[in-house]
Subunit: 210 residues, 2 copies
């Protein structure tokens, strides 16, 4: 028979348990492991466990879903990740797709959709619902994936700005001139299409840059 072995990675105990319970009714799907963070999952992955799919939450402590996806790609794992997230934010979806997710489900998806996604991915297809695809496309048409918007230095500067440091303070902490930080600030404002610090921090918080 064709049994799909899957792992659940989610930091919410009740969600994990409930999901396992829910899936136990389906004979072709078997939950073989249940972990609560990315690190734990990576350990399992490295132990060469035989599994087909991992239902992966994005927001997890220690190591989040994005990092897990990246690592899985590096290790060219054969386990196919389906992301289960509560964010129907185009940015999240796009990042997951880019990082090698085989599917993206919202936590308010229904059981039918969940099993459909698992079965499709199990057969080698990808599963992104119409709603999800649309969000992603809309997002990509207006702005690039946030990961790529800012350079490393800019991201670092943004972090310090959000801590409440002034340009001068940031400059001395990063051992560069204040002019440099001013330029970084200007570039960040431009890239995120905002006109001052207040708007900047709000937007950065929204798209989870900080």
């Amino acid at each position: 028979m064709n049994e799909t072995k899957l792992i659940i990675a989610d930091d919410h105990e009740l969600f994990r348990k409930g999901l396992a319970e829910l899936l136990s009714k389906h004979e072709d799907i078997k939950v073989i492991k249940s972990v609560e963070d990315g690190i734990e999952f990576m350990n399992i992955l490295k132990s060469n466990i035989e599994a087909h799919i991992v239902l992966l939450d994005i927001t997890m402590p220690n190591m989040d879903g994005f990092q897990v996806l990246k690592e899985m790609k590096n290790l060219s794992s054969t386990i196919k990740p389906i992301v289960i997230s509560m964010h129907n934010d185009g940015n999240y979806i796009a990042k997951c797709a880019k990082s090698g997710a085989y599917g993206y489900l919202l936590k308010n998806a229904d059981e039918t959709e969940l099993t459909k996604a698992i079965r499709m991915v199990s057969k080698g297809s990808k599963y992104f619902s119409a709603e999800i695809s649309e969000k992603m496309i809309n997002f990509m048409s207006v702005q690039s994936v946030s990961e790529d918007i800012l350079s490393n230095k800019e991201t670092e500067v943004l972090g310090l700005i959000s801590e409440g440091l002034t340009t001068k303070e940031i400059a001395s902490r990063l051992f560069v001139s204040a002019r440099t930080i001013e330029t970084h600030r200007a570039n960040i404002l431009k890239k995120l299409e905002v006109k001052n610090t207040a708007e900047l921090i709000k937007k950065a918080a929204k798209i989870n840059l900080i």
Copy 2:
């Protein structure tokens, strides 16, 4: 027999279903309804359904958990709300306790804790785990519940600041002098214990003021 009838209010279909499945194993607990937002729950409440407990999510569309709690208090409902949230933020917890929640569970609580909470609340007690209580106490000791921190005017100004408006722009929009807005800004910074706009917006976003 003493069967506890409960309602689940959560916008995540999978969570709802999973939870129901999980609880179905317990004979003394019966899930009688499952709704996906606050409005839907209020309708059920008004239909005089017989239920003992509602497992209430905070972040829901249309009408969130806080509003539901407030409304339930107004209607002096006999259904006892247990909040299930993913935020272990002292501010959230304190607001719920203040609004009449009988319990507060994190979504990463385990099954044992869930059933324990349900049974205790069913018997008339309240259930706040040691961890949750601690968070709440820590929070309240350092700052009052966010709802009460800022005055109405200050909240309004904060909103406009976060939109990227300058002091002058805000002043003309609110038909007052720029000085007034400067004072408001200063007071807001002081109340939230931050030293500039960047930190302000970050904090405001964090405690969901904007």
